[in-house]
Symmetry: C3
């Protein structure tokens, strides 16, 4: 264990205090309530524009926000509790880094999207976008779960949120791509960023911790809490920032059917690829969600319900096959250790979703969209570009995202290699005990595990 | 174990792929976005009818939909995880069959309720109704939990959804009964359908699996997640498709008070009927919910808050007594093995709710309902029938529902007896291991259980 | 165990039946649907005031209500399941007393706030307020968790709800204090009331049950379900009854940032005060929530986002330090045994929140609030008092609340000392087995625990 110290007594408080203090100062300098949140500004709006309090954006976004919020903290947090000895770290580090990321991304996204007269103006939409951005960080967290210290994770969040903001700005504002549910900005970016970090932090000796990489019966049930909440609220995720009216309703419906179809595909494929026809919880917990990822870009478009089902079905199929066949190859050949299989749930379905979005955009016609074209494809509606060009730009957006993710993830991974950041030794990965005060039954489990894997030490006890 | 094969390697993929493919084809042929979901149609609506995006039905139904959605997948799914060795099957088969049922019922209900010019038009209301229908299937699932293969369950869903659609059409459209929260269409139908299926699939040798029919400490806590979510969101369930305005608010309030009263009745009765005055988790997990079922029909009516409380109180009482005294009789005398006690939670309270609905309908007066009569009882408001006739029709609706459930459940039960469907042998009921890859601690538990119940085999180990 | 009988066979049913019956009678006599819930009244409103069904208050309050409802039953209920052998009692007694408290507080609050022409008129706002009031009772429950019978808890709820109603009436209606999120009325009141009850019920021999006061690995994960839901929905809690429009959105945003900052402060402080730099689940489960409590009064004010962060940060810090340093002192010196540490989560942050509210109120200016002043500080807006006076009244409100809580808690504590109420003996605290039928694995745990703590008995087995 030489060279590694996982004692965070001074380092973790220091980085938390510093990041929080720095954030507070930047908020004090730059961040203000927007027109719908400020007492004075909203009441000016009311009197000047003949509005009523019921027109406040709050009533059209807040229920979606709370669903997204639940996905970020319950969904991602519990999904990762499947590990038998890393439940605390899964749900609580998820909590920590998301709590930081939503603050930091409010600043970063604010600078790019709502910086006027030297101030960032924030409201319910910025809260949704901040949660979205932290979603990308949590996807990356899934790739390195159990192999990183909370300090590394906070630093990863700091850098990743910043890059996320730049990539998102380029995609949405510079090249005019559409990506309301984040197939590219969130899933593809988060997954490949995390996979590159994991590649750089490759642990050749990780086998020493493999006995802790599985689940126990009840940890799989805890994980299902996460899975089901992600599945339930994914329609809210994809629709949370689309235009009001038909757009939100259509996005919800497309996502709903895509997820339903990916669930059947996952059960089917899971049984098919198992020698005895048994189902595998890892597949159900993850691949059934691929239907939400795959319509992240196209969900707001006129995808049609059966189109959404086909997309979801293929995503569930590809994702399940990925867990079985691709994850071992990534590990053995490419030296990418992907704890939660984010490549299968977010990576491939994200890329598929981006391609699907490009295709559906390229096929957009005035006949199908009518006056609704302006909401979905404003640049087509105002004549700036044709549908085919929009499709091409969507495709470029995918390439740009992959570029940002791979280069960014590599650089950040290299930064996180600094020894002083408290990462666990190879023998102590996927183990809560190094960062947490744990109850007796967990300690007992540790001794049993240590003894059974090390006969000599067991004998000497 | 001769004659039984529970290996689903080809069968489960085959049925999942077939059902999903068939559904996709039917969706492609018949299902279209409705006026509030389609980009072109909604924007035509906007310009022709002086509406705004904020008038889209989405904003008045989506929060309720998400509550219902949570009940179906978290509520029902986790409620059934109380079994010590069937947690995977409970939450994940619930997931599978509900994911299929919401697709299939969109078609079936669409043919009956929104089939115009050869197309089914769907939107947020059809999503709520599809979730409702899958609720009936999950109630039936509760009766056969642990004794059926996922293939049997998918086939049951296929047939039950179809019959549900016919029964619902007869009740709501043909005889003009009211049943917004589904005391009849969902609870009575789902319960007696499932009980008949269980009757037909009667297992005289089920005692060989009884040692697995109980709970462990933490599985009871997982089940409480399901219970509490069902309890919390039942007001949304009963109000999700009532008329907008006072109707939704009144339904919510009636359900809220009915549930509160049934909770006190359940705790009281549970302690009373136990020899030592101890409370029983089975009662709390189930009977406390009877208050939601019993106001499923009358919740939108002018039931009054104290009327709702009386109804809830009686439902909690009857339901708890049912678990203690009736379930054993059903099993021993009527050969109905009801794993989750759906007769107590959905069957009797559903029938009570139907009768209460008939009574409250028969007592409706213009003085009490004012102009609101048109929303609650349109046929009384337009003079087609008197309140007493409405009450009588409500009663007929109950009889029709019982008829559909009993006959339909028997026929479907007979179909599910086909051996090739992979049902577990009598010795392997309530056991995840036959359909799931399970973690080591679950396998160990299995060996211990097998050994302790079989002294000879234990001795030879 | 002489003198104690924990058999509740007749007593618990008797008190449940009596309380429910009494409540139903009072509801029948006094409680009616309000204008937005009654079919006749709402439709009169529609025709007389040119409103539409979409203007019904339901659509602006119900999503918030459901979030609050989830906090009360899932949040509080599961937060308390951290105890290794009291999971049933935690979630289910929480369920029982909240189900009673929401009914009783509808009456009590109704008499004080909506009693017109001899009737109480109720709707969605009364439901939110009833849930709020039950929140105070559940905070007090946290202080006495594991040491009281359900009968004592129901009686505590009966008295506490009544006192809560009086205190709330004095604060909001008599002295015109603002406290939308209940830093004073809910958190300060609930905490100090519960602490006084615990003081009066002091158990000098509680050490005999200390071995059960800790957690096991999975009980800590169940508790995190409660924590995260409380954290997620606290913005809804604080904003649920503020004025519509900017006020709700601003309250949500302030709470969101306060909670994020308190989370970082909690992780930092938890690692700092632990000898080995390890994190403590008790802190994460509780202190991370202090950010919600501390902006309960000031959340609707123009606190600014960075002001909210500073408040949350300090609250997380103080709360974590409280768990480490103050809880042992309260126990050893002041004879206050505070099972869940409600002094740290609700007591101190509540007082801080009241003081912060007084400060922010005193600083209110027309320039900052504009026409929105009338919503936040109606008495300042109409010229009845200055901002400084409002601040002073806020401070008096804190003192009054502390007075009600301390005196009320003492009196109620004394009442609960009656022996016949079935409280557990000192050796049986924090143990589900005395009130619950428990599964085998829990019974086994009990024998093991008993044996290991009693060597003689262990030897004789």
């Amino acid at each position: 264990m030489s060279g590694h110290t996982t004692n965070l007594r001074l380092k973790l408080p220091a980085i938390c205090f510093l990041l929080q203090l720095f954030t507070i100062i930047l908020f004090a300098l730059f961040v203000r309530y927007d027109q719908e949140t400020s007492a004075r500004l909203w009441h000016e709006e009311l009197s000047h524009h003949n509005k009523s309090n019921q027109d406040n954006d709050f009533y059209f976004r807040y229920p979606s926000f709370q669903d997204v919020h639940t996905m970020i903290f319950i969904g991602f947090g519990f999904l990762m509790t499947f590990l038998k000895r890393y439940g605390f770290g899964s749900v609580a580090f998820n909590f920590l880094i998301a709590a930081f990321a939503i603050q930091w991304s409010t600043l970063i996204q604010g600078f790019f999207h709502s910086f006027h007269n030297g101030k960032i103006h924030i409201g319910i939409e910025s809260m949704i976008n901040a949660d979205f951005c932290s979603g990308a960080v949590l996807i990356s967290f899934g790739a390195v779960l159990g192999k990183t210290s909370p300090i590394q994770l906070l630093l990863m969040a700091l850098f990743e949120v910043t890059l996320f903001g730049i990539n998102e700005f380029v995609l949405l504002s510079v090249i005019g791509a559409k990506d309301a549910g984040g197939s590219m900005t969130i899933h593809t970016f988060g997954a490949y960023f995390g996979l590159m970090v994991s590649r750089i932090l490759y642990r050749p000796q990780l086998d020493k911790s493999r006995q802790r990489e599985g689940s126990v019966y009840h940890s799989d049930l805890f994980a299902m809490i996460g899975t089901i909440y992600l599945w339930l609220f994914w329609p809210s995720f994809n629709s949370a920032i689309t235009a009001c009216g038909d757009d939100q309703q259509r996005t919800v419906m497309n996502t709903y059917f895509s997820l339903a179809a990916s669930t059947l595909a996952t059960f089917a494929t899971s049984a098919l690829i198992n020698g005895e026809g048994k189902l595998d919880m890892v597949h159900i917990q993850n691949a059934a969600l691929a239907g939400g990822v795959v319509v992240g870009t196209s969900g707001e478009m006129m995808l049609t319900p059966f189109g959404a089902m086909i997309a979801g079905f293929l995503a569930g199929l590809v994702s399940t096959l990925g867990f079985k066949f691709l994850t071992p190859i990534l590990d053995a050949r490419l030296k990418i250790q992907d704890t939660c299989g984010v490549h299968n749930l977010h990576g491939m379905p994200g890329v598929l979703g981006a391609l699907l979005g490009a295709l559906v955009a390229a096929l957009a016609t005035q006949d199908v969209y009518g006056d609704g074209m302006a909401d979905v494809f404003p640049l087509i509606a105002n004549g700036s570009r044709t549908a085919k060009y929009q499709g091409a730009y969507q495709f470029f957006a995918l390439l740009i995202t992959l570029g940002f993710a791979v280069v960014g993830g590599s650089l950040v991974g290299a930064t996180l290699k600094i020894r002083a950041l408290g990462s666990p030794p190879d023998t102590q990965c996927f183990e809560d005990q190094i960062y947490w005060e744990v109850p007796e039954d967990h300690q007992d489990g540790y001794m049993t595990a240590v003894n059974s894997e090390d006969p000599e030490r067991s004998a000497s006890v």
